[in-house]
């Protein structure tokens, strides 16, 4: 054994291999060992996630029901001189407090399995019914603009959203897609690696990008604390319950030349997820979100033209999981 070997001992495995292999093969052997070590590490990390996961039914259409209520309070903080000819007082009053209650069903199906084993889901809004109250009594919601629309999502088995498409068919004023937008996003559960035990919490942070259209992305950062939740009566050992609470921040800049705007948002979020412990299918997901949005419309030189603050409180539930 040389002095160099004594000072910097190599791993036993590498030393044994070096004895067996000619010196010229040593670099290739090292590469092979390195790659194997990486693969083992990746596989063991994935195995660690398996203690809590939810499964999406393959070769079946899953039906989820939802109830959601959201209240939006809108205030015009800064209006431009261009607003002078218009009756903005009436407009502000009609938007001051709007409560929307919506219920319905969505169907989703795994349309595709990607090469990295992530799943391509198609979630379609099947039927929607509800009402909108703008302070003058509830009016029925016209859901013709959102029924039948779908979004596609690429998700990992943990529920992490990798990519999505189709939001532009739900987004925009006068279409009523806001409530359904939240439901579709909340129908994908991003689960922690495991259920925290002994009253502990598990912090998780992730980023999520929602492409509303090619010129507008909603970039969100979620910081959550997961904890074990009480399993409701009647579900017993067949259920796993996890609660979460935390914050969301959002930044969005609309690059469309006909609507130059930006939005900063911050939210408090909490919820409880109930999964079938055997099948891994979702049974129930209740959630609350309290958003504060500051939306600024911009002039061509980038200076603010108008500023609008919106406080949006959403309380909802996605449940069911019937399959056909």
């Amino acid at each position: 054994m040389s002095l160099d070997d004594t000072l910097s001992p190599r791993p036993r495995l590498l030393r044994s291999a070096a004895v067996l292999a000619p010196r010229s093969l040593l670099p290739f052997l090292v590469i092979a060992l390195g790659a194997s070590a990486l693969l083992v590490q990746v596989n063991s990390a994935q195995a660690g996630r398996r203690s809590l996961r939810y499964r999406l039914p393959a070769d079946a259409i899953e039906t989820l029901s939802f109830d959601v209520a959201h209240t939006v309070q809108t205030s015009f903080d800064q209006l431009p001189p261009e607003a002078e000819p218009y009756d903005t007082d009436t407009l502000q009053a009609s938007l001051a407090t709007v409560t929307t209650e919506v219920s319905g069903t969505i169907e989703r199906v795994v349309g595709r399995v990607f090469r990295d084993r992530s799943l391509g889901l198609v979630s379609r809004v099947i039927d929607v019914a509800g009402s909108v109250d703008r302070g003058q009594g509830a009016e029925p919601l016209d859901a013709s603009g959102i029924e039948g629309k779908s979004v596609s999502m690429r998700v990992l088995e943990s529920g992490e959203l990798l990519a999505s498409a189709g939001w532009q068919h739900l987004a925009g004023g006068g279409r009523g897609g806001d409530a359904v937008f939240t439901v579709l996003l909340q129908s994908i559960l991003r689960l922690p690696f495991e259920v925290p035990s002994n009253g502990g919490t598990l912090p998780t942070s992730f980023k999520q990008r929602v492409p509303v259209d090619p010129l507008l992305n909603l970039d969100q950062t979620w910081d959550l604390l997961y904890s074990a939740a009480e399993v409701p009566d009647g579900c017993g050992r067949r259920c796993v319950a996890v609660s979460y609470e935390g914050t969301i921040t959002e930044a969005a800049v609309d690059g469309h030349p006909a609507r130059p705007m930006k939005r900063d948002g911050a939210a408090q979020v909490s919820g409880t997820i109930l999964l079938d412990s055997k099948s891994g299918y979702v049974r129930d997901h209740t959630f609350k979100l309290a958003w504060t949005f500051t939306t600024t419309s911009l002039r061509e030189n980038g200076t603010p033209r108008a500023v609008i603050t919106q406080l949006q409180t959403t309380k909802g539930r996605v449940f069911g999981g019937a399959r056909k």
């Binding site: 209006l79 909108v132 016209d142 919106q310």
Partner: protein, 214 residues
């Protein structure tokens, strides 16, 4: 030597970690993907190109020479089931008998079913006679009229009226002024063929009511 070994270790690790990337077929909305549930202009264009022979059949029956062919554009709407409604042919100098034949061809077309709103399509027919013979040339683009996404960063009630929405747009972003500015820029720019169809200025949004003035 150790540096080389470290590099040799890291490079395959990075390759393994990243995997093959950048394949457009991995996009959820790649045309033809099972996760693409909306009709793209490219998919409509492919069907129109495949129908060229049928269009040429109409020209062969009803048109005698290139001069008589005129300029023809067809318009139609693709429903969510993929069928065609409201088919019409705009004839500029072409024999009137050509129109019903083209409409019959259009009405028989079948596109893929989709989840979007009905798609309004406009497509020019280019009839050419030269040494190669007479034919309908495949036009490189179809013109569709996508629905405008209006003020998507504001959470607005589903029952907001067209007038209220138009007023909000004029106060916040003044889209007409911007569209006019874009048009002025286009008018001043040298004539260049548009490479891709652009979103209609008006979209299929409901006609704005006159905003209430003070």
């Amino acid at each position: 030597m150790r540096l080389l070994l470290m590099l040799l270790l890291c490079v395959p690790g990075l390759v393994l970690a990243q995997g093959p990337a950048g394949d457009p077929r991995d996009n959820l909305d790649h045309p033809g993907s099972p996760t693409d549930r909306y009709l793209d202009a490219a998919e409509i264009r492919d069907v129109m190109h495949a129908t060229n022979d049928a269009f040429y059949g109409c020209y062969r029956t009803h048109v005698r020479g290139t001069k008589e062919a005129g300029e023809v554009a067809v318009r139609f709407t693709v429903t969510r089931e993929g069928t065609v409604t409201d088919a019409a042919a705009e004839m500029d100098g072409a024999p009137p008998s050509l129109g019903p034949c083209l409409v019959d061809v259009l009405s028989a077309l079948q596109f893929a079913s989709h989840d979007g709103d009905p798609v309004q399509v406009s497509y020019p027919l280019v009839y050419q006679v030269d040494r190669k013979g007479a034919r309908v040339l495949p036009y490189p683009v179809v013109f569709t009229k996508p629905r405008r996404v209006r003020l998507p960063l504001l959470v607005l009630p589903a029952t907001i009226s067209a007038g209220e929405l138009a007023m909000l747009e004029r106060i916040l972003v003044d889209p007409d002024e911007r569209i006019d500015a874009d048009r002025r820029e286009l008018d001043q720019a040298p004539d260049e063929p548009a490479a891709v169809p652009t979103e209609s200025a008006e979209g299929d949004a409901p006609a704005p009511e006159a905003p209430a003035e003070r």
